[in-house]
């Protein structure tokens, strides 16, 4: 019997243990099962940089509606060992529940109102599978029972995930799963609180994707068929996904010897006429600096994805930070144009990646997509896009309004090649009104040209004359001016009240947390205006100025030490923002932002603030 889809669901499950215990895969299987029952899911993962040992954790938030952040309080906590308990119990909700293994966790007496369910996970796993490794599947069974997920859904997921390991392993896992269900049943008869059974009618189909997977799929959707990369945490899953899926769609994903070779290879492939990308993280982007300029100078479209991690140097490879912004915008010897995009959600990773390719092809320059570890490793439900809306755009967008790709409308822009009359006396770097000149595809007779990193004239010939350098610099930057003026026509990227005196500006993955903080503030009567540009550079100046009008306080929220975006805003718009930074390697929560807003509201002491 199908039960009705619940419309009051919003809870957080957290599973903690030691790296290598299967904590993450247990959580991911649970999240996938929830997604198949068509609820929204949002996961957050932390894991150690080492292969084994260290603290590993996955948090899963389940909701019947769009989820904006990982959630701050835990409804259901599963702890595999003592360390996991010590590091997570403070996040437990007062009336939450705890599942733990009494063999390895000792809960000292404390003032807890939560319900405690000791389940001998290790023992059960050993009984059923002959090894303690299976305890994550036992936990999956327990969770399955608590959340009324059908065993069939979980069995299907297990066979999909472990199928390649052979039937014997699968059977063992089924046994462990059953044992988990049984153990859950033994302890408590029913659990209405978290019931998720049944599927909703007329609901969209969801993909369950990590931000990294969404980027990889976005690239394929955008028409990218050539990727070169070098593994680097936390961007590796993008490259892994692409090495798997590229051949399936007739494309190529090539592992190179380092990041310099990777970007060189995509420049060569872009010169060859392909849509190209390389995924990397901060240290890799740094190595790519010189070639990034080359692409800008040769006016070749390339897309670089930088999944930011904690820096500087080797820093915190598995932790999150928004600290490569300045390098992405300004990190260059000499001056070269580039576009910086920052997706805000997992779903947005998919669409902003498509947009990154469209912009790269349209404006013939490098586009850097700045995500971060938290968004890259987070998994969330993403609506399947409308495939009828997939369009290859014949007419080029630079002179008209450029659509932002969305589930309802995906436009894919192809490279502008010279027309027949342009091939005669072809000038690759011809000065045009908008700075863009057609690129001949190798193999086209008469389109042969020289692309040199030396300053060159319209023909491509090296030319260091004062007049030429100033003219060509203008040509290259003209493209950014064009883009910036076009962005002015886009829908405004800000939310909240026009009456507010307090504005919050953020970028990238903090969007959901800021949005939730705004909702909370509004509940308390504090009006907030929230700006979250997805194109960080170039910024649409008029739009930003209209956001700033009437504001007394501007708060810039970001996950870094020095306040990089705040500096950028300060320099561009002459405002003196209040900076809320978090530089701890973990995402900022809506609570932390809300606390900051409260402080500012107190200072503001304006009439429109009733109670704080």
């Amino acid at each position: 019997m199908k039960k009705k889809f619940r419309s009051d669901v919003d809870f957080v499950v957290r599973i903690g243990g030691e790296g290598g215990e299967g904590v993450i895969s247990c959580g991911e299987l649970f999240a996938q099962a929830v997604a198949r029952t068509e609820y929204h899911v949002f996961t957050y993962i932390t894991y150690p940089a080492e292969m084994r040992g260290g603290f590993s954790m996955i948090q899963i938030r389940v909701r019947d509606w769009t989820i904006y952040s990982m959630g701050s309080e835990v409804d259901c906590l599963v702890v595999f060992n003592q360390q996991a308990w010590e590091r997570t119990h403070m996040y437990l909700k007062k009336d939450g529940l705890v599942i733990y293994d009494p063999e390895s966790v000792e809960i000292k007496e404390g003032n807890y109102k939560a319900k405690f369910y000791p389940i001998p996970l290790t023992k059960l796993a050993k009984e059923q599978t002959g090894s303690s490794i299976g305890k994550n599947v036992v936990v999956l069974g327990v969770l399955g029972f608590f959340f009324s997920i059908s065993p069939e859904v979980l069995e299907e997921l297990i066979s999909e995930r472990y199928g390649h390991k052979g039937q014997e392993i699968i059977e063992k896992n089924y046994k462990a799963l059953k044992a988990g269900f049984k153990a859950g049943k033994k302890i408590t008869k029913s659990n209405i609180q978290f019931g998720l059974e049944g599927t909703a009618e007329n609901k969209e189909k969801f993909m369950l994707l990590s931000g990294n997977e969404a980027v990889a799929l976005g690239a394929v959707a955008a028409g990218c068929r050539y990727v070169a990369g070098y593994p680097i945490t936390p961007a590796t899953p993008i490259f892994e996904t692409l090495t798997k899926i590229m051949p399936k769609v007739g494309g190529k994903a090539i592992q190179m010897e380092d990041e310099i070779a990777s970007i060189s290879a995509i420049i060569g492939a872009s010169f060859g006429g392909e849509k190209v990308m390389t995924p990397t993280s901060g240290p890799g982007l740094q190595l790519m600096g010189e070639q990034l300029n080359l692409a800008a100078m040769l006016e070749l479209p390339i897309v670089i994805v930088n999944v930011q991690r904690g820096g500087p140097s080797t820093g915190l490879p598995t932790k999150t930070e928004q600290s490569d912004l300045k390098f992405a915008i300004y990190g260059t010897a000499g001056e070269s144009p580039r576009v910086i995009l920052a997706p805000t959600t997992v779903e947005d990773c998919f669409y902003q990646t498509i947009r990154a390719f469209n912009l790269a092809e349209e404006y013939q320059l490098p586009v850097i997509l700045l995500t971060d570890q938290s968004i890259g490793y987070r998994k969330a439900t993403v609506k399947l896009p409308d495939f009828h809306s997939f369009k290859k755009k014949e007419k080029h967008g630079i002179d008209e309004y450029l659509e932002i790709p969305s589930a309802e409308k995906i436009e894919v822009i192809s490279r502008r090649e010279p027309a027949k009359d342009e091939i005669r006396n072809y000038k690759r770097f011809k000065i045009t009104d908008n700075g863009v000149s057609p690129i001949a595809r190798p193999g086209t007779p008469g389109g042969q040209y020289l692309a040199t990193g030396l300053e060159h004239n319209e023909m491509g010939k090296a030319d260091y004359s004062p007049k030429n350098h100033s003219m060509m610099s203008r040509k290259r930057f003209r493209k950014l001016e064009m883009l910036s003026s076009k962005l002015e026509q886009n829908p405004r990227e800000f939310y909240g009240s026009k009456e507010s005196k307090i504005g919050v500006i953020g970028w990238g993955s903090t969007e959901g947390a800021i949005r939730e903080a705004r909702y909370r503030a509004e509940e308390k009567g504090i009006l907030i205006r929230h700006l979250h540009p997805k194109i960080i550079s170039p910024l649409p100046e008029r739009q930003i100025r209209s956001f700033l009008v009437g504001l007394k306080y501007v708060i810039v929220v970001e996950e870094n030490y020095t306040g990089q975006f705040a500096h950028f805003i300060k320099a561009k718009f002459g405002v003196r923002p209040i900076e809320i930074h978090k530089c701890e390697g973990v995402p900022i929560s809506s609570q932390e932002i809300f606390n900051g807003i409260k402080k500012v509201a107190r200072i503001a002491d304006e009439k429109n603030i009733t109670k704080v």
Partner: protein, 284 residues
């Protein structure tokens, strides 16, 4: 003959020193293009920085003059994206063995079907006379006023160790032979290395006369696929042998990439490959 060579000539006139061996290499490459009847629009010339970096300027082909040391991975990208193109990469002893030296072994491992012409003049010529990775020990240059203390690189044994599938050495002093070797290299399926000694006229660390006196063709019965034998001849300094040191058949990068696509299509039971719709649905 001259008229047809023009087909490959760009409007840009070379700026090398008068008498530089690079003029000969440029002519030889054009001649090979002509002999192989390649259309200029189907050729990609990729180069890095240095005197050798200028090669790409002088061809009427799709030419890319990139950054220092990165010509090889750039060429690899070009060829792996466009297997229908003939890709020639030109580098020098600084560009190819110094700053970009690390890329050679990996291009060799992938056996990308390009021809790498490595022009060795034993000095940084364009920047006016500093020591390079192949400058002999004790040579006095602008950056080694007390004499070079580094051991020079001996490239051919290195290339043999890398298992590059075609390795040849020649010099500008033997134009005809050099042209033949470049031709064989371009015809070869897989990565081909043509290492050319091109003594610098302005900084004559290795005088032309000396090259002429020490080079000698490899013997007629020389085996092409014997690495140990190749090493023996490659280490011999006098005479300095020229010719093909090593040539084997190996699967090329574009074949590997094609095979990958074929395997993936078979696994997915599709002929044309997955559509974006099918791909996204597999993630639900």
């Amino acid at each position: 003959m001259k008229k047809t060579l023009q087909k490959y000539e760009s409007v840009i006139k070379p700026v090398w020193c008068p008498g530089c061996g690079n003029y000969g290499i440029l002519k030889a490459v054009k001649q090979v293009f002509m002999e192989l009847d390649l259309s200029p629009e189907n050729i990609m010339n990729i180069s890095g920085i240095g005197c050798s970096g200028r090669f790409s300027h002088y061809f009427n082909t799709y030419s890319l003059h990139g950054t220092h040391g990165r010509a090889l991975p750039t060429g690899l990208g070009a060829k792996s994206a466009r297997e229908d193109m003939t890709v020639v990469v030109v580098g020098g002893d600084g560009d190819g063995l110094g700053i970009g030296g690390g890329h050679i072994v990996h291009a060799a491992r992938k056996n990308v079907d390009i021809t790498y012409i490595l022009v060795d003049n034993r000095v940084y010529g364009l920047t006016k006379g500093q020591s390079s990775p192949t400058t002999p020990t004790d040579t006095h240059t602008k950056t080694s006023p007390y004499g070079v203390y580094d051991t020079p690189v001996n490239p051919i044994p290195m290339f043999i160790t890398y298992d590059i599938s075609f390795i040849a050495r020649t010099s500008v002093v033997e134009y005809k032979r050099m042209t033949e070797l470049i031709k064989k290299a371009i015809v070869h399926k897989g990565m081909s290395m043509v290492y050319i000694l091109s003594p610098c006229i302005t900084y004559p660390i290795l005088p032309l006369k000396q090259v002429k006196s020490i080079i000698e063709p490899l013997p007629d019965n020389y085996p092409l696929d014997n690495k140990l034998k190749a090493m023996e001849y490659a280490y011999t300094q006098e005479p300095l042998y020229t010719g093909i040191f090593y040539q084997i058949k190996k699967t090329t990068l574009d074949q590997h990439l094609k095979n990958q696509i074929k395997t993936a299509h078979e696994r997915e039971k599709t002929k044309k490959g997955l559509t974006i719709k099918e791909l996204l649905k597999s993630y639900t």
